[in-house]
Amino acid sequence: MSDHNGDIKKMMIILSKATLENVYAAFVLANGARMEGIEAEMFFTFFGLEAIHKKKLEHLHIATVGNPAMHMPTMLGGLPGMEALATHMMKKEMERIDMPDVHEFLDILKASGVKLWACKLAMDMFHYTKEDLYDDVDGVITVGDFYKQGSGVGTHMLFI
């Protein structure tokens, strides 16, 4: 029997989407873990890579189509400029509650000791190189490497 008391020791957070609401959810969860003294590592895969792509991370949008919580007809959400408008409104609200932008949030995560990993397979698929990524990304690794990072008692994994 393990004598582990059930405490969460480490959060392994996988981000597979680039919509702003998902990126922020992942960032807040990682930062929140560190604030509680829990280790945190993030794995950016598929569209999640855009959150650490230098040229794209400042231009992420929230999803207005296929998002019932937007409370707008899907047809309307698909109109040109609608995503930009919704994103603009959300960013204004975020500033009000002292939420940093994506780049500053990455800086905070790094300073807090969060490890940031890019998925090798997705990097190859999108033809990205390490130079395309936010400077402080810890490395480009495989799924197997990421699992290895998460070994140990009290590790939890989260897929976003």
Binding site: V28, G32, M35, E36, D98, M99, P100, G113
Partner: protein, 102 residues
């Protein structure tokens, strides 16, 4: 509930945060730090001073604000108070538990 520390009796909540800041003094802070395995240095006290002054101004604290404080950056803050820095430092400072998620 009451707690005896540094030769004084203080009131704390169930998580160990002081409920009355006026009961705080530096010796109590030092002993509370020891309970969290932290030995206070002048750098630690500069941060505690900052937290207390923000508390007196009724400014809610967050990691982001600490980073912009000009007193300490986030990296050093985590080095000074390694486990749950904002919560630990608030407890040592005798101020309420921070409620920010950022």
């Amino acid at each position: 509930m009451e707690k005896v520390i540094a030769g004084a009796t203080i009131n704390v909540n169930e998580e160990g945060y002081l409920t009355d800041f006026s009961q705080w003094n530096k010796q109590i802070g030092t002993d509370l730090a020891q309970e969290a395995d932290i030995t206070m240095t002048p750098r630690h006290w500069e941060v505690i001073d900052y937290l207390q002054s923000e508390f007196k101004k009724e400014v809610p604290l967050s990691i982001r604000k600490i980073g912009k404080s000009g007193v300490v950056d986030i990296k050093e803050f985590y080095q000074l108070f390694p486990m749950a820095p904002l919560k630990t430092a608030s407890k040592i400072a005798g101020i309420p538990k921070p409620v920010s998620c950022i």
